[in-house]
């Protein structure tokens, strides 16, 4: 909210450096986002009368303008077309400096020399208007300083960010009240004086008001203003509105806006002669009922729910014939708008139920100055003061015959009254860590309008004013005490937690996993969680949880795998000749939703909404990388965590799809699932995939599959690491006796996985196998086309003796026999 200092002083005698006032506002939580000095730097700008406007050869946007500004005629070039010969306009002569530091120099445009600049309101810092040159009233002398002519005195505007819980601070008076309290200055709310404007005609004879649904609108008042002349507002009102960021329109609308900014109460003026039946009817809109609002948009009401508990009852204002003419508390309709011919004004000032306005505003995606105030809670007892203030303001411009009809139509339902809160001083101190007494507590509250009674020591009975609907509980009052005491003056205490801090085993292991993968040469990436729907399709995944209201379609579906995002990152880098890269990420993936699970989560029965999993994804696209790089990385990881119960199985081996095990997008013959044999052994659980990206998928992402293979590893980290206990942490004693090595090379058919041979050897060797490694894979013309040679080194060692040559020979024979028997392999000579 933009608040001019000159307006604040209507309520309290603020003096001193505006920077100090801004700091005091900050300390109250009324954060000043900008302090703007206005009306300064205009000393050089003078009034000028337009003598002649002429065309410039070859230019169709700019014109040659000759003006008189107290001396010789001055010739300038101007691009605005909104003024005529004889008009009075502001001239910034050569050498002058405009607000913002723009210095006017002599310039030549299309061969014509411009000796200064005619200015718009915005260029002068006087308004937001930049549509054309500021055209001034004509009865002033050319050459006079603009500041004198307009009565401009330098002012300061505070741009204040008002928090959602401070409805009272959405007006100048409210901000002044808080600031005056903090600075110990007297605050007063001037009483409107409306002498002699009340006519003899009773309002009830001119208009009617009926409130059908008073739960939506607990208080509705209407006044009728007669013989209104619609004209422009006095300069001081126009200027205050402009400084506050609103555009002056006419005296009636301006008065309404002024009162809202001044006191926080929105009002709505109707042209009574355009209101059917001469009265208003306030009720819940029927679903689908349409109102055409002031901005010319047809808006259907009550159409959709905007959250749990929403009964979709929008408050609509109808005319006496029940035709909708406005949306209560949000925006009026265009059918009864104030115009130049308006003579009789029906003035609405009401209190709407905040939640109703919040829902309607959200439902229609329509926010107005009025709805912003009503949804936070206006003061139901501030209505009359606001309406009278409006009459007072209008009295100055609405003409001699302007009158207000006698009385007011006031329909009152159940209006929230002042709440009473018992505040325990001990509780104040317990929450704030302070050492305040009852007097101090009351001393902070009374200046800002809270009534304080003290019946017994240690307790302050607080009456909360109706303009503070945010304050209902003891804790709310404690916050007021804290604000006015000053947060900076509250003590600080070094807290010692009575527990030992630390990461969980999973959190520690996750860090280790990231370090291991980084050690393998992969950079950690951060790819989007939200993808375009077709990105999933491009890796062969369907479905996925959709976002209802995505910012862009490109971010509308939750990722089911890290693969698509990572391929996008690879493509980005490849396009910049950085194809030689390894990337990884640890992040959540979101499998397709399970309606039963969603229902359980919404019923708060313990589950998360989606079975989201934290996975590790690694894309290996360095020179020479392929599925083997991914398999190697898996071995490094398995080794790092001592994992022995996870095996690779062919992609078509397991039908059950699962998070992190989805094989979509992978090379069918160069990938495998990682499967963990669970304790019982009856169910093998897929925990990830390892292998290579399908070359067609690489092409889809603009990666050249012929040039570069991409190894891929994706593991459900939680499934991999959740059970730290199954990984042995015990240190085994090593044998003191010498070991014996046996190297065996077998010719094995390609259909037999090397891992199977490995398992057979391990089993055949039994407990005496100290280590077993595959150290060579070899293909040659001598082996058949569909077989390769696998060479293993077995190291045997007994814990209690040196193995004899005989024993080793037996072990060797047993291993050979086992492999030959199990896999139809042949020992190579």
């Amino acid at each position: 909210m933009r608040v001019p200092l000159s307006w604040l002083v209507d309520f309290a005698p603020f003096t001193g450096d505006p920077a100090d006032l801004a700091a005091a506002l900050d300390d109250l939580g009324l954060v000043v986002e900008e302090v703007q000095r206005v009306g300064e730097g205009l000393d050089d700008v003078v009034l000028a009368r337009v003598l002649e406007i002429g065309a410039i050869a070859g230019a169709d946007r700019i014109r040659r303008v000759t003006v008189e500004a107290g001396g010789e005629p001055v010739e300038v070039v101007c691009g605005a077309w909104n003024f005529h010969e004889g008009d009075m306009v502001p001239l910034a002569p050569v050498g002058s400096v405009l607000p913002g530091g723009f210095e006017i120099s002599r310039r030549k445009m299309k061969g014509v020399v411009s000796n200064g600049m005619l200015c718009s309101g915005r260029e002068l810092g006087l308004s937001e208007d930049h549509e054309g040159i500021l055209v001034l009233p004509g009865a002033m002398a050319p050459g006079a300083p603009l500041t004198d002519a307009l009565g401009i005195t330098p002012d300061t505007v505070f741009d204040i960010a008002v928090e959602a819980n401070r409805p009272d601070a959405w007006c100048v008076a409210g901000i002044a009240r808080d600031l005056a309290g903090a600075l110990h200055l007297p605050f007063s709310l001037p009483e409107p004086s409306t002498p002699d404007v009340e006519a003899a005609t009773p309002v009830a004879s001119l208009a009617t008001v009926e409130v059908v649904d008073d739960d939506l609108c607990p208080r509705f008042t209407a006044r009728v203003l007669l013989d209104v002349t619609v004209t422009s507002s006095p300069d001081w009102i126009a200027r205050r509105l402009t400084l506050a960021g609103m555009r002056p329109i006419n005296n009636v609308v301006d008065a309404s806006n002024y009162v809202m900014l001044d006191l926080g109460q929105p009002t709505h003026p109707y042209d009574l002669d355009l209101v059917g039946g001469g009265g208003l009817r306030v009720r819940a809109a029927a679903p689908g009922e349409i109102v055409k609002t002031l901005d010319g948009v047809q808006r259907p009401l009550g159409e959709r729910s905007v959250g749990i508990g929403d009964d979709r009852r929008d408050c609509v204002i109808c005319d006496a014939r029940d035709a909708p003419i406005g949306i209560g508390g949000v925006m009026g309709g265009d059918s009864s708008e104030i115009s130049a011919t308006t003579s009789r004004v029906l003035l609405e000032a009401a209190y709407f139920t905040p939640m109703v306005i919040a829902r309607t505003s959200k439902r229609l995606n329509l926010r107005s100055e009025a709805s912003a105030r009503f949804e936070r809670g206006c003061d139901p007892e501030g209505i009359d003061r606001a309406a009278l203030r409006l009459c007072e303001l209008l009295g100055a411009t609405a003409g001699d015959r302007f009158r207000s009809a006698q009385g007011v139509l006031d329909v009152r339902g159940t209006v929230p009254g002042p709440s009473r809160v018992r505040v325990r001083t001990a509780r104040v101190n317990a929450v704030l860590g302070s050492d305040l007494d009852d007097d101090q507590v009351a001393g902070y509250l009374e200046p800002i309008g809270f009534g304080c009674e003290r019946e017994r020591k240690g307790v302050v009975e607080v009456t909360v004013p109706t303009f503070r609907p945010d304050t209902e509980r003891e804790i709310d009052v404690i916050e007021e005490v804290a604000r006015h005491h000053g947060y900076a003056r509250l003590p600080r205490r070094r807290l010692f937690a009575p527990q030992v801090g630390g990461l969980t085993p999973y959190q520690r292991d996750r860090r280790l996993a990231r370090q291991v993968v980084a050690g393998f040469g992969a950079h950690e990436a951060w790819t989007p969680s939200l993808l375009a729907p077709d990105v999933h399709l491009r890796v062969g995944m369907e479905g996925g949880v959709r976002v209802t209201n995505p910012l862009t379609p490109d971010e509308s579906v939750l990722r089911q795998s890290l693969l698509p995002g990572m391929l996008g990152a690879l493509a980005f880098n490849a396009d910049r000749r950085q194809g030689d890269v390894r990337l990884f990420e640890v992040g959540h993936v979101f499998p397709p939703p399970d309606p039963a699970r969603v229902a359980r989560a919404l019923a708060r029965q313990g589950d998360t909404v989606i079975a989201e999993r934290e996975v590790l994804g690694v894309a290996l696209a360095a020179d020479g990388d392929d599925a083997r790089s991914a398999a190697s990385l898996w071995l490094v990881l398995a080794d790092a965590f001592g994992i022995q119960d996870v095996e690779m199985t062919a992609l078509d081996g397991l039908a059950e799809p699962g998070p992190g095990s989805g094989a979509a997008g992978l090379h069918p013959t160069r990938s495998a699932r990682l499967v963990r044999a669970d304790g019982g052994g009856d169910t093998a659980r897929p925990i990830g995939v390892v292998g290579e990206v399908d070359p067609d998928v690489l092409d889809e992402f603009g990666l050249d599959a012929k040039r570069r293979r991409v190894g891929w590893l994706e593991i459900d980290l939680e499934a991999l690491l959740d059970d730290a206990a199954r990984r042995s942490s015990l240190v085994r004693t090593v044998s003191r006796f010498p070991s014996s090595d046996v190297d065996l090379a077998f010719v094995v058919d390609d259909t037999v996985p090397a891992a199977a041979v490995y398992r057979t050897l391990r089993q055949a060797g039994g407990e005496l196998v100290e280590s077993l490694t595959l150290f060579d894979v070899y293909r040659s013309e001598t082996t058949s086309e569909s077989a390769r040679s696998l060479a293993y080194r077995l190291r045997f060692c007994a814990p209690d003796r040196t193995l004899t040559d005989d024993e080793v020979a037996q072990l060797r024979a047993r291993c050979i026999a086992a492999v030959e028997h199990a896999h139809g392999a042949q020992l190579r000579g």
């Binding site: 919040a358 929450v431 709310d476 807290l495 040469g521 959709r546 995505p550």
Partner: protein
């Protein structure tokens, strides 16, 4: 050693040991290779050498002369052996030097290997923040990114259509009734989970990814990381909150950086505060980054609102607590002076490997 005095010439085969020695020295002087040295060794000391023959000739001598002649021959042998050993050592040293010279390597000519990958600056910042809080006695808690209305809003004292919900532009998911399931807009839902499942006392921080329907700019991105803290115990006050924030600030940003709290509003805390730290660029003297104020806004905090305690079944008269939260990405941006957060979208390896 000089040959012994004594007038008469050697009688042992007519060989004077002194001559043997001096002739050996002469031959030795011409040797340049180990092979030649070994040959010479045989020639001088081998079975067929003059020295060996002289030894054999001793038997022919008068028994009275034998000891002296033998002594002189042994002396000569020892002398020759000693010179041979010296020469051998000299040659070996030279040959080692030549070998090493031939081995010489320019260590700057190695081909750059594939280096270690980098951890992402945001993740690393998260690790560092976690470590600071772990050092202060906190544990680290985590939760899901997709949440229900209860956890993201309602339990946090924001009933349906509460205006404060407008403080966050929420991305809703197409699950359940409209607008009942969303991507969490803050990490605060984890607080609710924690209080529901664990109960006080609680000393925890909750880092994680959050989502808002915001158009990205240099300082805001729609997906971002937050870290949130929650303390619930008996006797916790605003003084503990302010003290914890200050302890964290100096521990993470350094001893010159301090904190201050100013009134603010969050539905789930009361009193609420905005948390600012000394501008890390100008150290508080005022610069463009901090708009000349010397302070930079980092996050929000406050005392846990009793309504939040009520929602999770904690007695607000017995227990009090505070919560705070701020952006991890923002911390990374400040510390590493990253001009525009949108740089994170690309995963450009030229950026990833820098920081």
């Amino acid at each position: 050693m000089t040959p012994s005095a004594g007038g008469e010439g050697p009688s042992s085969g007519g060989v004077d040991p002194d001559v043997l020695v001096s002739s050996a020295l002469g031959q030795l002087a011409t040797i340049t290779t180990s092979a030649a040295l070994e040959e010479l060794h045989t020639e001088l000391l081998g079975k067929r050498s003059a020295l060996a023959r002289a030894h054999q000739g001793l038997v022919a001598l008068d028994p009275g002369q034998r000891p002296e002649a033998g002594r002189r021959l042994n002396e000569a042998r020892r002398l020759i052996e000693s010179h041979l050993a010296d020469k051998r050592a000299e040659l070996e040293q030279g040959e080692r030097a030549a070998r090493l010279e031939a081995d010489r390597l320019d260590l700057t000519e190695v081909v750059v290997p594939r280096g270690r990958g980098r951890l992402h600056v945001v993740q690393r910042t998260r690790d560092e923040l976690e470590d600071v809080f772990v050092g202060m006695g906190f544990v680290v808690a985590e939760g899901p990114e997709a949440e229900t209305d209860w956890y993201n809003f309602e339990a946090l004292h924001m009933p349906p259509a509460h205006p404060a919900r407008g403080m966050w532009d929420t991305l809703y998911l197409d699950l359940g009734e409209p607008e009942t399931v969303m991507l969490r807009t803050h990490t605060s839902p984890v607080q609710v989970h924690l209080m529901e499942t664990q109960g006080p006392p609680i000393y925890a921080v909750m880092p994680g990814k959050c989502y808002r329907r915001d158009t990205p700019d240099a300082r805001h991105i729609p997906t971002f990381h937050q870290i949130e803290g929650l303390v619930v115990d008996r006797g916790i006050s605003f003084a503990d909150l302010a003290g914890t924030i200050e302890t964290f600030t100096t521990a993470y940003f350094g001893p010159d950086i301090h904190s201050r709290l100013r009134p603010s509003y969050f539905p789930f805390t009361e009193p609420s505060a905005e948390y600012e730290v000394t501008c890390t660029i100008c150290k508080g003297t005022g610069c463009r980054t901090c708009s000349q104020t010397g302070w930079i806004e980092l996050g929000g905090c406050g005392m846990v609102d009793p309504a939040v305690f009520a929602a999770v079944g904690i007695d607000a008269e017995e227990w009090t607590g505070f919560a705070f939260g701020f952006g991890i990405d923002r911390c990374a941006q400040m510390r590493h002076e990253i001009p525009d957060m949108r740089v994170f979208f690309d995963n450009d390896v030229r950026v990833l490997r820098q920081i």
